[in-house]
């Protein structure tokens, strides 16, 4: 239990919150990193998944990319990128590795969501003379939205968690508090850093849950 009290003291020490290595600046780095990577992955994955889902093609591709993505360790990708020319521009390797990591769940969930839309409804929309574009945007996308958002939520929580690994390769974010604690052999600092990241991930999960609760009826998942 003494470790927990020591961690609590570490966390509540105002000296640890300010400065470039402080909790506040690490939190901000972590947040920026997560938001940038999530936005980039959404821009890459969602249009592709929605169009593939609308056309009903490339399903095997979407699912296989997702499974293959799980087999590739993010840490290995990060270090590989670090040793290539990409490694010379600051957070570049971290951003690329995290985007590669976040794309699969987004792609798969959005694709599956589009395919699970009731075919009868899609045919009714076609019968009403809707064009493919109208069907995609006004019929299929709204109905697929709960699953698409599940993908976004999973990607976001994963990003918060995985951004920690950037610290192993000298990147910024909350992971730095953990690795610095390891190097100082300071267990309280390590535990404090771990708690910060876990709480951050849970807050992101909660934000998505609340957003879903507040969303209009049609945008919510079943039940």
């Amino acid at each position: 239990m003494s470790t927990l009290t020591a961690s609590w003291h570490w966390l509540t020490d105002p000296a640890h919150w300010s400065g470039d290595d402080g909790i506040r600046s690490r939190l901000l780095q972590h947040l920026v990193l997560t938001v940038v990577c999530l936005a980039a992955s959404c821009v890459i994955a969602l249009p592709l998944a929605l169009v593939l889902g609308h056309l009903g093609k490339g399903g095997a591709l979407a699912v296989n990319i997702s499974n293959a993505g799980r087999a590739v360790p993010t840490f290995a990708v990060l270090v590989l990128l670090l040793l290539t020319p990409v490694g010379r521009w600051g957070e570049g390797p971290t951003v690329v590795a995290l985007v590669l990591f976040a794309v699969p769940p987004l792609l798969t969930n959005a694709y599956v969501g589009m395919r699970e839309v009731d075919r009868g409804i899609v045919q009714a929309a076609r019968g009403m003379g809707m064009t493919g574009r109208q069907m995609l945007l006004h019929v299929e996308l709204p109905l697929a939205l709960p699953l698409v958002m599940t993908g976004v939520r999973i990607a976001a929580v994963q990003l918060v968690a995985t951004a920690t690994i950037a610290a192993l390769a000298g990147g910024g974010g909350l992971g730095r508090i953990i690795t610095a604690g390891f190097n100082l052999a300071s267990t309280p600092q390590v535990v404090a850093g771990a708690v910060l990241v876990a709480v951050f991930a849970l807050i992101v999960e909660a934000v998505f849950a609340i957003a879903e609760r507040l969303a209009p009826r049609w945008a919510r998942g079943p039940g």
Binding site: R70, A71, A76, V79, T179, A194, L202
Partner: protein, 247 residues
């Protein structure tokens, strides 16, 4: 400028035969450690997950808490998980295994539970009608029918564990991750690439192996493939297998 050396180790090439031949033993040791950490954690995860899933199936009220706890465990980042367990286990291989067990629990419990829930009520009633008791029903009817879903979870858990072991490098027990970590600090390209490729190969090989095991132990799914699957748990299982898991 001097001419580039003939030795690919001296040139620090990404692909280097000399690295493979001179560091064969280091690579082999790392692979063995990687396999042991992965296998241990998935096996322990399985031993814990099956009873949990069976309990959650039997008592409805238990399902909520069991799923909630395993899901929360899954949101904890791997680096943070290893560090949170640090006070308990110290810098040891046990620490890495304990962290990986907690991760595999989420995937395994969910998939086994989904498989158990997908067993059609008529099947259970038919077995009861034949005089099967609850234990015999569970062991000879329900668990075998839950196998495909459970195996899907097991495959995801194993593949995820193979890649997560690398993060164990932070405490010095990361299998191939140790080589990647060391190679990063010394800019040793051949070592980083070789270890990374080996990681992916292990993951793919484990996946194929489990697929083969599944093929062998569920002969009835091959005979009945032409029929469309029924039961409410089916789409959920597929979704979990496809994309909703966290790796």
């Amino acid at each position: 400028m001097t001419a580039p050396p003939h030795d690919c180790l001296a040139r620090n090439d990404w692909i280097c035969g000399a690295y493979l031949s001179t560091r064969r033993h280091i690579l082999l040791d790392a692979v063995v450690q990687h396999l042991r950490l992965t296998a241990l954690s998935v096996l322990i995860g399985l031993v814990v997950a099956v009873p949990l899933a069976v309990l959650a199936r039997r008592w409805r009220w238990a399902a909520g808490p069991v799923l909630a706890v395993t899901t929360v465990l899954y949101t904890i980042p791997s680096l943070a998980m290893f560090s949170l367990l640090l006070p308990l286990y110290g810098l040891s291989a046990t620490l890495v295994v304990a962290g990986l067990v907690l991760y595999s629990l989420t995937l395994l419990v969910r998939n086994i539970l989904a498989g158990l829930r997908a067993v059609p009520e008529e099947t259970r009633q038919a077995a009861r009608g034949l005089g099967y008791g609850p234990v015999r029903l569970l062991l000879t009817v329900e668990l075998p029918l839950a196998l495909p879903a459970a195996m899907a979870g097991l495959r995801i858990a194993t593949v995820s564990a193979v890649s997560l072991v690398t993060v164990g490098a932070i405490v010095g027990f990361g299998g191939l991750g140790n080589l990647i970590y060391a190679g990063m600090n010394t800019y040793f390209k051949a070592q980083v690439l070789t270890a990374s490729v080996l990681c992916v190969l292990i993951a793919v090989a484990a996946d194929v192996l489990l697929l083969g095991v599944q093929w062998l132990i569920t002969p009835w799914t091959r005979a009945g493939r032409a029929r469309a699957p029924t039961g409410r748990g089916r789409p959920r299982t597929r979704l979990l297998g496809a994309g909703a898991g966290r790796g």
